[in-house]
Symmetry: C2
Subunit: 670 residues, 2 copies
């Protein structure tokens, strides 16, 4: 008598499964290679009719996984049946290759066997195993499915009639009834009485209690559409019955359920029936199992899904950038709040050497909203020092720097939201002629609007006085301010303090850029020699200062107190990260000395007569708005009067008349 042959499961992986795995790996699993439950699903086997020959061609006996496979509460879609699996993702290709597949397989088979014996539960009969290695740098996924199936010894045989269409074994009414019941209550394995009434296999003892053997049918949802080979689930169902009911299952009538729909004609049922028999095996012992899936070349080896070619390059870039950042959380800094950094909207005032490097480092941190402001055009000396410009941007008078930088950022990373604005920032000491007042007012309004719309503002201009107006507006609006300024081989990077009224009263307010000054910012641009007009700095200085400023912002954002965080004492033990956040210290001011390759930490308290951040200045700005600003621009005594610096200066002059002066001017822009 012919031995029953089975169609093994074939894995069908929807591409979105890999995307889901990628996310899971990066955000949740990280370095874990623990085995996790997943689910797959299968449906009744389908076949298509070859239009030329009229032959039925069976489609694959598929077990499918998709994005829902990782969802613990996930239900199969209508008409699909759940298979439970275990999935294990290795960290390296070497571990994946070296994995002890026999042990893994036997472990899974053992679990399935135990579930049968211990709980008489059929829900493990289609269990599967999936091992993977995801090369997320190249979007290549190595994977291998195993569908453990217990081997019957001796094998099951089918009577000489073989597999017949279902209508030869059951009435049309019974089959229609089965169809209806499965639709209402999907059972992958079921018992059938002659009437067509079905019940879970688990109720074998009771449901068939008074039913003559000839009217007992064992049914299962058959993912195979092969005319003579029922699908893999039958193999384990037979092992189940044979193990639990050895006395009554030497002969079985089996229904391979293959009808998703009721056929148009009573003889059109695709399901099949057959009479199987088998000598009982040695009771109790777990039969051996087989089931590693072969690859498309027919070998017992893993498969590879290469998703790179089918992915949208822009999406690839998006994910790749995220990946590099999220990897930080895998091992080194699980507490790092990347979103806090990447969602910070940054305004860069100045798109020169500092501005370009700051923008690049912000992009590296995944910051998505970056706005640049500059009033200049790209000149021929820029590209070798300002890493968002190229030679072609300089010809014909040069492109506007801010817009050009933003356009380049999009070329670097299409996912960025970068914009550039050509805007002159009004400056104290540079009086506004009456004809230009309306323009100045509009420039101020635009600057206020831009600052309002951002969270952090970088002051990256090349003059002292251009930093005044944004300093005042940011202080009034409570924005985070990062300030960077370059000398020849020295730099200053600092964060401005937060207005006292918004800080806990006991905390010392940190100073701003102007807090050390006893004169108001004034015109330093007119009457400059060429070496004063150009940025004469050691070429490596700007990138160091710019990256330091961005990393200071990152550290501040990761500190529990944010930009309200107190500054660490400048002379504290360097190794003791006192007052540090997740990323480390949040100093107030850093002065870098390239000739020594050292940084000096400085803490400076806010100054009550500061022309940039004192209450007198902020209140005057808040109450008088542009009128106050215009006075500050036009009248070089205004800010000194407003803050009382003039009085201090007069007193000081008197007191110091007899002092010997040894004034040193280091020519730096800070």
């Amino acid at each position: 008598m012919p031995i029953v042959k089975f169609a093994p499961f074939a894995s069908l992986v929807q591409p979105v499964f890999w995307h889901e795995l990628t996310t899971l790996k990066i955000d949740v699993l990280r370095l874990s290679d623990e085995a996790l439950p997943i689910t797959g699903s299968y449906s009744v086997g389908r076949s298509v009719t070859d239009k030329e020959t009229g032959n039925e061609i069976a489609l694959g006996c598929n077990l499918s996984v998709g994005p829902e496979s990782f969802d613990k509460s996930g239900q199969p879609s209508p008409g699909a049946f759940l298979a439970k699996g275990h999935f294990k993702n290795y960290n390296t290709i070497e571990e994946f290759r070296a994995a002890d597949k026999t042990a893994l397989f036997n472990q899974e088979a053992e679990k399935m066997w135990e579930a049968i014996i211990a709980t008489r539960d059929t829900s493990s009969l289609s269990n599967f195993l999936l091992i993977t290695y995801a090369d997320l740098k190249k979007y290549k996924y190595y994977y291998w499915f195993a569908f453990p199936a217990f081997v019957a010894k001796p094998a099951w045989e089918i009577d000489e009639l073989g597999w017949k269409t279902a209508s030869e074994g059951l009435t049309n009414d019974s089959l229609s009834s089965i169809h209806g019941q499965l639709r209402a209550n999907p059972l992958p394995f079921f018992l059938v009485r002659a009437s067509g009434e079905i019940a879970p296999v688990e109720s074998y003892s009771t449901f068939f209690a008074n039913v003559p053997p000839a009217e007992q049918t064992i049914g299962f949802v058959d993912p195979s559409a092969h005319p003579t080979n029922p699908g893999w689930p039958l193999r384990n169902l037979l092992a189940y019955l044979h193990a639990l009911y050895p006395a009554t299952t030497a002969q079985l009538r089996v229904l391979c359920w293959r009808d998703a729909e009721i056929p148009a004609t009573p003889t059109g049922w695709k399901s099949r029936v057959g009479a199987l028999h088998c000598k009982p095996a040695a009771a109790g012992a777990r039969p051996s199992a087989v089931g590693w899936e072969k690859n498309p070349q027919g070998k017992l080896a893993p498969r590879v899904a290469d998703l790179a070619p089918m992915m949208d390059p822009k999406r690839l870039a998006d994910q790749a950038v995220d990946l590099n950042l999220k990897l930080m959380r895998w091992r080194i800094l699980p507490a790092l709040d990347l979103e806090k950094i990447s969602s910070t909207k940054c305004l860069l005032l100045g798109a020169g050497t500092l501005g370009c490097y700051v923008a690049r480092t912000l992009m590296g941190w995944g910051v998505r909203d970056i706005t640049l402001v500059d009033s200049g055009r790209v000149s021929f000396s820029n590209p070798v020092r300002q890493p968002l410009f190229e030679f072609e941007d300089c010809v014909d008078g040069g492109k506007p720097k801010a817009e050009c930088a933003a356009a380049r950022m999009k070329k670097i990373f299409p996912g960025i939201n970068a914009t550039g604005h050509t805007l002159s920032i009004p400056m104290p000491g540079h009086p506004v002629p009456p004809a230009s007042v309306a323009q100045a007012k509009e420039d101020v309004r635009k600057l206020e609007e831009l600052i309002e719309a951002h969270d952090a503002v970088f002051l990256l201009m090349d003059s002292r006085e251009s930093r005044w107006l944004p300093t005042v507006i940011c202080a009034a609006k409570g924005k985070i301010v990062l300030n960077a300024a370059l000398g020849f081989d020295t730099f200053l990077v600092m964060r401005h303090g937060v207005r006292a009224s918004s800080v806990r009263p006991e905390a010392t307010q940190l100073g701003c850029y102007y807090c050390n000054d006893i004169v108001a910012p004034a015109d330093s641009l007119t009457d400059r020699t060429l070496d004063e007009m150009c940025t004469v700095t050691r070429p490596g200085l700007a990138s160091i200062a710019a990256s330091t400023a961005v990393e200071l912002l990152a550290a501040v954002l990761q500190h529990p107190d944010g930009h309200h965080a107190a500054a660490p004492a400048p002379n504290s033990d360097p190794a003791q990260l006192v007052g540090a956040g997740v990323l480390g210290l949040v100093p107030h001011q850093l002065r870098g000395f390239l000739a020594q390759f050292r940084n000096l930490h400085i803490v400076g308290a806010a100054y009550g007569r500061c022309t940039g951040c004192s209450e007198a200045v902020l209140r005057a700005y808040e109450t008088q708005g542009f009128d106050m600003i215009l006075q500050a621009l036009n009248d070089d005594k205004f800010l000194q009067k407003l803050t009382g610096l003039d009085q201090l200066y007069a007193e000081g002059e008197k007191a110091l008349e007899d002092v010997d002066w040894d004034v040193e001017d280091d020519g730096e822009d800070f």
Copy 2:
């Protein structure tokens, strides 16, 4: 009787004059605005015949300056006559505008008058004055010429016949003779006897001693071709004669010499003669002078030469980049040897985050020869961190990194000589299969060739073992080695020591990257998890480390001892730049800690059993070449045996068996 009218000088500036001024300003003058002598030249006035009307049209009465004007030993070209000038270049447009032009002018006129009275020398009669302001950022040159001319009061008059052609006053033979004499001995001002014999004006008393007044003629080379207005030089010549010989110069016959060539016909002479007379002025007093040149709009105001539109953009870029660097020497570091840096040929092993930033900073220093080596292709995560790549470089599998980076550098600065090589550097711990030996040999040969052809080599790879082979080759060849390696928020930047045999014997040899190790470099790449495969670092770290490495190279190149310089003691007073060069300290190793924003200075001596730079290794490499390398690649015990590390290790194991270990692994790549 008609008053004599004069054609004033018109300045004619050859564009090359401005290029010469630019070079002079940047390289020599720098911040100096001292008045300097220059020269100009003029020729006989020329006219052209209008073909339609047959009228003669006089061309300008030009005084021309060109590149030779700054050359102190410069001689005028044949047929041209020298004018002496003083030139003053201001540092700022404001100083240029505010200059006291009256004082400057009077000073020059005073000098001219003193020269006349004191030395009777005619060589100052065409003196001129030029003040300039050169905006070298925009290639705009503001300038103003003054051609001081003494005003005769009362004015000179000409008899009723006016100016006649020369042939009406002198014979053809005389005129031909004058032409010949002037060609042989160019005299801008001369005396003529009736015979045509000429002499310098300085010999007035003797040459005309016995000549009847009617046969005395005063000649001058006339830059004017105007029919009735002789050129400006005559004005000062008349003032000269009138001042020195008042008694005999109330009436003068004047020859305006305008013939560069002997005419085809005896009546074709273009020179003119006229009979002038004037009442003597008050003796001794300097007459007033006029002579600031009007601008093309007819106003007494400076002119502007805008050279930007006519310059080749690539040349503009070239000069702009140089300018920014040379400005360092103006004020801050006159001793800086820029050429030493810019002429250093740099080889960058690794074109990733570090490689791209190093390349950019080298470009900022004006380095012209940069070669990159990498074996990878640009991937989607690169552009936001690696500043020589863009999104478009990643699609379709990615461009080769080294070549792509080199191409981008040319887009940034067309004057750069950048090349990229795709090359895998063989590594210890990564055995070479027999089939790949030929390829490995070729790779080693290529690497040796590249190192040989460069002066400084940067090790910027992302693994420990890939640095070994270049460390050995560079040590053997005595190249400068800069090494940069990144952790998550820490970096190492160091210069390798120079081989002991090439250093002064008493100096301590500084260590290389491997000198602290007691195990040979081995495979660290296989079996890596995703976060170990990707560079997981704070995004600002690479640019800081890269720029620090380049600035360390710059400091080393400016140190009198070059890369033989001893390292400063790590705990020396930071403010004391002991052992510093022009750019400051030349530390051996810098460890940067971004969580603290601090750098630590470390000095490490070379280790006699080092697998990278010890004599045992270098001699084995020098004697056995590729065979030795192949052993090191294939046999992971080879280097430890060669250096004696194995023996040390065995002894150490024994000695330390009872020690409690508390090993800390910080997962950093150094």
